[in-house]
């Protein structure tokens, strides 16, 4: 009962703020709405029982990426400045395209998905088990993607510094 009420509150928060995030006229407000959406998503992970994913979402998305966005907005925008509105034709095209997409996908989902799911009760995912799976080399274990991600992060740090540094 409590779970259902929390889920529907989170769903309303996520839907409203994700629409507000892409329609707001000020960038800093869009970033704030995006932060609410990301925190709501973290709440959904908590409802699903993925506590580790919840922690990662809050730490990486809501903590790390949002700080990057705020810095970038403050570096490239004058405070309080409004964005000049986009031409109506472009907005109408976007509204038509996304409405068609949402109706199409929604039709497919609501006509097909009720046949497949059963929610099996499951106790919380053990963090030790997650760690062993991330570090193992057997089937269904993830050491190689983990190493590839670490190399990707290194390349991304070097690339970001190379791109953003001042040229003399």
């Amino acid at each position: 009962m409590a779970q259902q009420i929390i889920f529907y509150i989170l769903a309303v928060i996520i839907s409203v703020f994700s629409i507000m995030a892409v329609t707001s006229k000020r960038l800093i407000r869009s970033a704030t709405y995006l932060l609410f959406v990301l925190l709501g998503t973290a709440g959904l992970y908590l409802l699903l029982g993925y506590h580790y994913l919840f922690a990662v979402q809050v730490a990486v998305y809501a903590g790390g990426i949002m700080v990057l966005y705020i810095f970038a907005i403050l570096l490239t925008q004058k405070p309080g400045e409004r964005i000049t509105p986009e031409p109506l034709r472009q907005r109408a095209l976007a509204i038509v395209l996304s409405s068609v997409g949402i109706v199409f996908c929604g039709y497919i989902i609501f006509n097909n998905i009720t046949k497949v799911y059963t929610l099996v009760a499951q106790d919380e995912l053990n963090t030790k088990h997650i760690g062993m799976t991330l570090m193992g080399t057997e089937k269904f274990q993830y050491l190689l993607p983990f190493e590839v991600i670490s190399i990707l992060l290194l390349a991304c740090i070097v690339g970001a510094i190379m791109i953003a540094r001042k040229r003399s």
């Binding site: 889920f7 769903a11 629409i19 329609t23 998305y61 810095f71 996304s98 989902i109 995912l125 690339g159």
Partner: protein, 113 residues
């Protein structure tokens, strides 16, 4: 569709309710990606799209294959990759701002100075 309302406050949360939330998030991201002109707004839209995909991975894993962890790890790796993508993209945005003094897409017709 009927289950969505009969199960509204009792029983388990239906899977399509989660999918509907991620659907709204995905297509608001698509809307922002097409309609906005500021590079930072486009990045925010991409972030919304990636986030909705993460929800889908976690939900499909939890509902359809609760004894396995593939969707969980895909969501985890997607979060890491989107962090990389944001860092590089914001470095590019700052570089563009330094060269052109704004970050509108229209004024970008060459990347090399």
């Amino acid at each position: 569709m009927g289950d969505l309302f009969t199960n509204f406050f009792s029983g388990i949360i239906p899977m399509e309710a989660y999918i509907a939330v991620s659907l709204v998030m995905f297509f608001s991201g698509i809307y922002g990606f097409i309609s906005r002109k500021s590079l930072l707004m486009i990045l925010i839209s991409i972030e919304l799209i990636l986030n909705s995909i993460d929800i889908n991975f976690a939900v499909f894993n939890r509902y359809l294959y609760p004894e396995q962890m593939e969707g969980f790890f895909f969501a985890l790796f997607t979060i890491a990759i989107s962090a990389c993508e944001t860092a590089v993209a914001i470095a590019i945005v700052i570089n563009i701002y330094r060269n052109l003094n704004n970050v509108e897409v229209d004024s970008l017709n060459q990347l090399k100075e």
